[in-house]
Symmetry: C2
Subunit: 144 residues, 2 copies
């Protein structure tokens, strides 16, 4: 399997595959006589695993750790659970901050419904408020 075929099969860019090889995430494959990379089924499996983890937003360094368990099925898998727990905690923290952010933007957006000149724009006024040491509508309660 050439790199373009692997890329198509795994729905990944060719450059991404070479990148994974460069950082040691995907093992370097054999080479054909012409120097082209020649991939085996194992590479597609591994790449599918990596992409599945990436859809779960797991960091490449963590994927490296997960792959060690794939390679050593007799190992204790407690670390796998911890890793997923940590990942979940990260996502939830990010969700919290994005929810806050959304509210701040909604409030901010409500400051200007009829666009006029910038001098009158409620949004710009709010953005400028802390500039003058004033409170702003979007960060009323000062939570970060």
């Amino acid at each position: 399997m050439k790199i373009g075929e692997l890329a198509k099969a795994a729905h990944v860019e060719v450059e991404t595959i070479r990148y994974y090889e460069r950082i040691g995430l995907l093992p370097a494959p054999a080479r054909s006589d012409n120097g082209y990379r020649a991939y085996a089924g194992m590479h597609l499996e591994r790449l599918a695993f990596i992409r599945h983890c990436r859809t779960l937003d797991i960091a490449l360094a963590d994927i490296t750790r997960l792959l060690r368990f794939v390679d050593d099925p007799s190992a204790e898998c407690a670390e796998v659970n911890t890793l997923i727990d940590t990942q979940l905690a990260r996502i939830r923290a990010r969700l919290d901050s994005l929810r806050t952010l959304e509210q701040q933007l909604v409030v901010l957006r409500s400051q200007c419904d009829a666009p006029d000149r910038a001098a009158q724009c409620g949004i710009l006024h709010e953005l400028e408020a802390p500039t003058l040491g004033d409170a702003c509508v979007c960060h009323d309660e000062r939570r970060q």
Copy 2:
């Protein structure tokens, strides 16, 4: 005002200020005889504006555009509204995908409660499922 004082006043790292100057976001200040940057009140105001926008996760390129309205109060502010709307849409899209992600991770996590050897680990099994062309619990409905 020296850079360290400005940094303290605006709760920003010194390096960040120099970075903003380098990319043209914060105007280069006058220099003292010893070559130190000498900031005026205007710089603190501008930096406060930038940081306020950053807490709203507005991109630096967009902040540059917002600053043009600060500098030209007679301009039409319609672009400001558009910009905030776009920002809000981005945040909401990200929220949606994070919410999906959270559910996927919750389901995945439920596959392994009692850590055992990797060969038995339900989490690893699920992560490996697409590797074999199987469906996985976390991406049942194939959305994205």
